[in-house]
């Protein structure tokens, strides 16, 4: 629905993901219903066929991720989306895609767990996402939107990064960002220079080399070589693609750090602290893999106190601690996900005061 200025529309985060996928030229979507992300398949089941794309409601999350694998191997842009229980099932396919160097976008609108958990917002799948999630030792690109606009922008970016680095990319959102509505500017697909997909299975014409998309490496040293190649690629990602946002960090004596919806809540808490005359800033990683380690290290050269806030019992804090200088302290405030556990800005402001005073 068009609102306000002609370019801005007021939509749910989940819908923004679907719209970005269409703009990014996503040709196939494969999914399975699960709350709180079903707006994505619903939107795409309506719009994708009109644009000549393919929508399949798969028999299972496993079916969906493997359809993604097949479509991606055949050279088109493709996406799937789910939430915790479904993302766990998809891990098999994600591991195979990583092993086969296949691009593909996976959207995880996190909900509370473990098990069936609940449909409330969670950030407790940080480890699952940033450590690869499946077997074998690999990483995937992980992007953490904190607004409906970023649901749009980072979905678009996920397609590009995934194609450039030939690895799966995940948009790691949560049910707050997925369900909330904000005004979005639906920008055009950026004119990124993408490498040619000369590896796709396409039917081998006479004289052309055979293309095989596989993850089986049995030859002496073959598997090891694959891993070293991927390590180099992860390093390249870390060197080139880290993204983050800093607010009031220049003179900060305490830096709150959080990602996704929690960072939004923290931002208001930081504003409250500033109003109260406290030198407090915010560091929000936008790429969770690659994690902006150097940015944290630089901040910690001057500011020696960080307050990591998560909607979990603490996962990103491991990466923060590994990134900051040795003499910097990282305090933690987190709440396990579930109904009623979403922290408020007022609550985080209290935590800021407590840690700020203790350091003074």
């Amino acid at each position: 629905m068009q609102t306000g200025s002609p370019e801005k529309i007021f939509v749910k985060g989940n819908e923004a993901v679907a719209m970005a996928a269409l703009e990014a030229g996503c040709h196939c979507y494969f999914g399975y219903p699960i709350t709180p992300q079903s707006d994505i398949p619903e939107y795409l089941s309506r719009e994708l066929p009109r644009l000549g794309g393919e929508f399949i409601q798969a028999e299972s999350e496993i079916g969906a991720i493997n359809m993604l694998l097949g479509a991606s191997a055949a050279g088109v842009r493709a996406m799937t989306s789910s939430s915790g229980p479904g993302i766990s099932l998809k891990q098999e396919g994600i591991s195979y895609m990583a092993g086969s160097e296949l691009p593909g976008v996976i959207v995880d609108v996190m909900r509370a767990g473990p098990g069936l958990g609940g449909i409330d917002a969670s950030q407790a799948d940080y480890f699952q996402a940033t450590r690869g999630g499946g077997h074998g030792g690999y990483r995937i690109i992980v992007l953490a939107p904190a607004s409906v606009q970023e649901m749009y922008d980072l979905t678009m970016l996920a397609f590009d990064l995934s194609d450039i680095y030939r690895m799966p990319a995940m948009v790691l959102a949560d049910s707050v960002i997925g369900q909330m509505k904000e005004s979005v500017t639906c920008g055009p697909r950026p004119e990124t220079v993408l490498p040619p997909k000369n590896w796709v299975v396409r039917g081998r014409a006479a004289g052309e080399p055979q293309n095989v998309v596989k993850s089986l490496y049995l030859g002496d040293g073959e598997m090891e070589a694959f891993h070293w190649k991927m390590q180099a690629r992860y390093q390249e990602l870390a060197d080139r693609e880290c993204r983050w946002e800093e607010v009031h960090t220049a003179d900060a004596e305490l830096i709150v750090t959080a990602f996704g919806s929690t960072s939004r809540i923290a931002k208001t808490a930081v504003a409250m602290a500033r109003e109260a005359g406290m030198k407090v800033g915010l560091m929000r990683p936008i790429t969770l893999f690659p994690f902006p380690k150097k940015a944290y290290a630089a901040l910690s050269e001057r500011c020696k106190l960080f307050l990591d806030v998560e909607l979990s019992t603490g996962q990103m804090i491991d990466d923060v601690r590994l990134s900051v200088a040795r003499d910097a302290d990282v305090a933690f405030y987190g709440r396990p996900p579930g109904a009623g556990s979403l922290p408020t800005p007022e609550e985080l402001f209290e935590q800021i005061k407590k840690n700020y005073r203790a350091a003074a």
């Binding site: 040709h27 196939c28 494969f30 393919e54 399949i56 798969a58 028999e59 299972s60 496993i62 079916g63 969906a64 493997n66 359809m67 993604l68 694998l69 097949g70 479509a71 991606s72 191997a73 055949a74 050279g75 088109v76 493709a78 098999e92 396919g93 195979y96 086969s100 299975v201 396409r202 039917g203 081998r204 014409a205 006479a206 055979q210 293309n211 095989v212 998309v213 596989k214 993850s215 089986l216």
Partner: protein, 247 residues
């Protein structure tokens, strides 16, 4: 001198890793002949599964995607939807298709995906060393059914060609064997029909090939061939179970 026997173009000039007497080589050859005869090698995408058939890309001179265990029909679905102008086939064993991949095969068939599935049924998990498969015959001893398959606990073997023939999305479903020249000739006809249906965009086509596994059966190739006749065909009758052209 007239050449009477040659390697199909769709097969590479290499020797296979298959055991002596194994029927995989025969099935590979018949599939390759079908691709050659329809002239579709350069538009074909093969989907390999997990098991002895994983090395499909080493023998077929076509582009190949290697699927996770049991997921070949889902992978093939993705590839075919992305490139509907290509010929897409999966090549799967009995553990892959009828155990861990049962959901994927049933749903791909039911959607009527325009793909061809070659299902090699040798009543055992070949590559992992002869464990009980979903198609292991009642009483058959394997490394995980040392007292013989007990149908009261393990259930009875799945008859996939019959099972899939009940689904509306299936255009063609047939069971063939490779243990005699007559059966091979018939198998070739059936495999060609299956690919023809895909070329003609008629829907999902399925071939179940009864195959021997002398190594895991603990038999010599001739005895293994005989077992196909004596034990397998009586339980898994050969024939066409669904042919939309006849409807």
């Amino acid at each position: 001198m007239k050449q009477v026997f040659t390697r199909p173009e769709s097969l590479k000039d290499v020797s296979t890793h298959f055991c002596p007497g194994c029927h995989h080589g025969s099935v590979h050859r018949l599939v390759a002949e079908a691709l050659d005869e329809f002239g579709i090698r350069s538009e074909t995408i093969g989907v390999a599964s997990v098991g002895c058939s994983v090395f499909l890309y080493g023998y077929f001179d076509v582009d190949v995607i290697e699927a996770p265990h049991g997921r070949a029909p889902a992978v093939a679905t993705g590839a075919k939807r992305a490139r509907p102008d290509r010929i897409v086939f999966t090549y799967q064993g009995d553990g892959d298709l009828a155990a861990i991949g049962m959901s994927e095969i049933i749903h791909a068939a039911n959607r009527g995906e325009d793909i061809t599935v070659i299902f090699v049924n040798n009543t055992t998990y070949g590559m992992t060393g002869g464990q009980m498969a979903p198609t292991t015959l009642p009483g058959q001893k394997t490394s995980t059914s040392p007292y013989g398959r007990d149908t009261s606990k393990d259930g009875s073997p799945f008859k996939m060609a019959e099972l899939l023939s009940n689904l509306d999305g299936v255009a063609f479903s047939a069971r063939v064997a490779l243990n005699s020249p007559k059966n091979v000739l018939n198998a070739k006809k059936m495999i060609k029909t299956a690919f023809r249906y895909q070329v003609e965009k008629k829907g999902f086509s399925f071939i179940e090939a009864l195959a021997s596994c002398p190594t895991n059966w603990g038999m010599n190739p001739l005895d293994a061939n005989q077992r196909v006749t004596d034990e397998m065909i009586p339980y898994f009758p050969l024939g066409v179970y669904k042919n939309t052209a006849n409807l």
